[in-house]
Structure formats: C-alpha cells, structure tokens
Amino acid sequence: MAKKRVVETEINGRKTEFLCEPRQTLLEVLRNQLDLTGTKEGCSNGNCGACTVLMDGRPVDSCLVLAVEACGAKLQTIEGVSPTSGLNELQQAFLQNAALQCGICTPGFIMSATALLAENPDPTEHDIRFYLAGNLCRCTGYDKIIRAVLDAARVGKGLKKEAAKTQAAAS
C-alpha cells in the first residue's frame, strides 16, 4: 500500500491539513474524511459535474482530481458559498426560480455558476448555457437553472452598483 501523504490546503478560507493515499480523489477526501458532504458524487468520470468545486478559483470535477494534487491549493466547496446566516444571491435565485427538484446536481451548478459570474458578471443566456454544459440535471430541463443564474447576475450587478454609489458618496 502506498504511503499516506500530508496535504496542506485552504478549504473555504480555513487552513486544512489532511492525510490521504495517492489513489484517493479530492471528492473522496472531501466527503468521507472531511465530512464536507455538500459536494455530490454523480458519474465519477467527469461527465456530470455534480462534484464541481473551485480549485484556485477554477471549477474542477473533484472526482478527476487526486487529493494529493490539491496540495497548496485554495478550495471552495458548496459549504463555503453562503454568508454566516441565510443564502447568497445565487442560492436565493435558485430557490426563487425553482431551479432544482431532487437537488443532487445543485451544489455543482452553484459552484460552476459562481465561477461564471466571477469571470463574467453580465452573461447572456448563451454564455450561461455554454459555461454550464459540464453540469447535468435530469429534473429541471435546465431553463429554470438558466433563469436563476440570469437573475443572480442581475441582483449581483445591482449590489455592485449600490456599493459603488455608497463608495462614491463616502469619498
């Protein structure tokens, strides 16, 4: 059996150290060792995107990343997206648009959409469909998810305008 490795990472803003075997995927370690079970296992071969997490800001399928490869990386999982209380604007938009039924794909969609909005705060419907192509949903038929992300982008832009106004007023 291969020796276990110490892996130092930052997960959801907290320094996290864990022990793992080289053969363990990041998904396995997140769920089974670190009890971060919000990240879901779907296909386990990089097709469905249910296990999407952000690694140094980039969306990755955590089933296709070895936990040892995460050494030194900053990770964000679904557990790290909401504020101390309540939901963030993307989560809220998913609820309001009924963008989920069984919910298994939702954490993955939220993580991919988080990366999209960070990269492109004003996406078109086409941008969203293209960016989220690596996330599969078998319940909603996607339209409600697309609407939720469009809504979240609108709200986000509004928030940023507010913040800019406040800043301008303060200076």
């Binding site: 995107g49 980039r58 990755v60 690596g134």
Partner: protein, 288 residues
Amino acid sequence: MRDFEYEAPNSVADAVALLSRNGTARPLAGGTDLIDQIRVGRLKPDLLVDLKKVPELNVLELSASGLRLGAAVPCYKVYGHEGLVQAYAALADSARIIGGIQIQSRGSIGGNLCNSGPAADSTPSLIALGAVAVIAGPEGTREVPVENFCTGPGKNVLAAGEILVELKFPARPAISGSHYVRFIPRNEMDIAVVGVGTAVVLDAKKEKIVSARIALGAVGPTPIFAKSAGDALAGLPADETSLDKAAELARSHATPIDDMRGTKEFRIHVTGVLVRRSLQASIDRARS
C-alpha cells in the same frame, strides 16, 4: 481505485528518470483522461508522475519565432491568451470545446495529444498549424511533427520513459487564418463524429491561397493530415470552386468506420462539408 504511488518532480530529467525506472509508471498532467482510465481498470500503473511542477511543461510563450505551448498547460489558458487566440485561432477553437469548463480547467492540449484518441479535438488543429512535438526521454530530446505522432487508437510514438515536453508552432504569416469545427449531435460535451482543422495563408490582395493545411479527426484510426487536399489549394483563388476541390480530395483521405456515432458513408460526406466550412472560416479570418 487501484493503489499507486505519486511523485511530483520539478525537472524534466527527474520526470524522465522516474518514468524510466518503473515500467508501469504513467505521466499525469490534467488527469481528466488518466484518472478515469485507472478507475475503470484500463490502465494499471504503480506510479503516477505528476508533471505539473516541471517549469518546461508550463511554458506559454508567443514570440516573433512562433508559439511554445508546454504540454501541461490547461485548455482555459490557451483560449484565455489573447495573442494566441488571434494568431492560432484553430487551437483556441479546439480548447474551448474539449469537455466542459471543469475539464478545461485541468486538461491540457499536450494530454489530449498523448491520449491519442482518433477523435481528439485539438490534434487536427495542431496538424493544421504545423505543430511539432518536443519529446524528452532517457536518450535525450527529439522532435516529431504532430501528423506523425499518433500511430493508432490510443497509441503514439512515445517510447518507455519519454514524455511530451512542449508543442512548438512556427510563426503565422501576416495574412493567415485557421479554424477548427466538429460535428456532434449535441450542442456541447460530446465526442466528434468528424472534426476538421484548417489553416490558410492568403496573398497580399487576399484573393489567392498561398498555402493551406487540412487535418481530419474521427475518420480513421488516428487524426489524419490530408496533405494533398491542402497542397492542391496553393495558387488557387480563395473561392468556392477551390474549396470544393479541396473538400473532394480531403474525403479521399478519410477511412472511417461505422459506429454508434455515425456510419462510414455519413462521416465521409460530413468530412467534405466541414472541410469546406472550415476553409471558408479560415479564409474569412485571414481577411479580417
């Protein structure tokens, strides 16, 4: 998943040494193909050698002498590089449609080539753009034009202990354009039924074709360099008659099989259609 050891060397020499010492060792770049192949038992390595910490494999350098693309550079950095997108558009076209965004965060063009799938989306673009594979191994370094790299489905010229270090591209002439297009029955996230990469150079008036390279994917056991089809365009006007001629010649290079994705007859037909479309797109890009 099967038990294996993991090493992440910092130099090409160390990587080659590790891979040479252990017969079943496999190089790891993005892992988007490799990890799945280990999980399903198709590959049974005892050691993975992670190449992402080797500086030479992370090079992305555009200069007057051309483009150097390290073998482990992930796809998103390829289409995120403005100069590259301008000059080597076909490569960016490919990088944007390999898997979804999660795969593009990890998977590299070098890995796509080394996996050597006949339907690999980046290989026709590499061939069209004249890329050369720089290979390091126990015997030293050698260079292989990409059109000679793949030798069969999943097979290539890499010998034991050898790794792909980088892809080297010649500089693009001033009035040139390139393009990749594939046919899939879905909108995204699918394997090419046919893929076509083209690159053209136009004369100063942008009316005649100076030279062209055409490569085909998913219509044979390896990606195919349709040399005669590109060569036939040299000196011809950049018009429909010329493109029809090239499409006809390109079809004669295709040796597809019938499978769940398409019949032989369909694939040959689509090859002609896509060659015409891709050449037109390359010409349009050269003119713009």
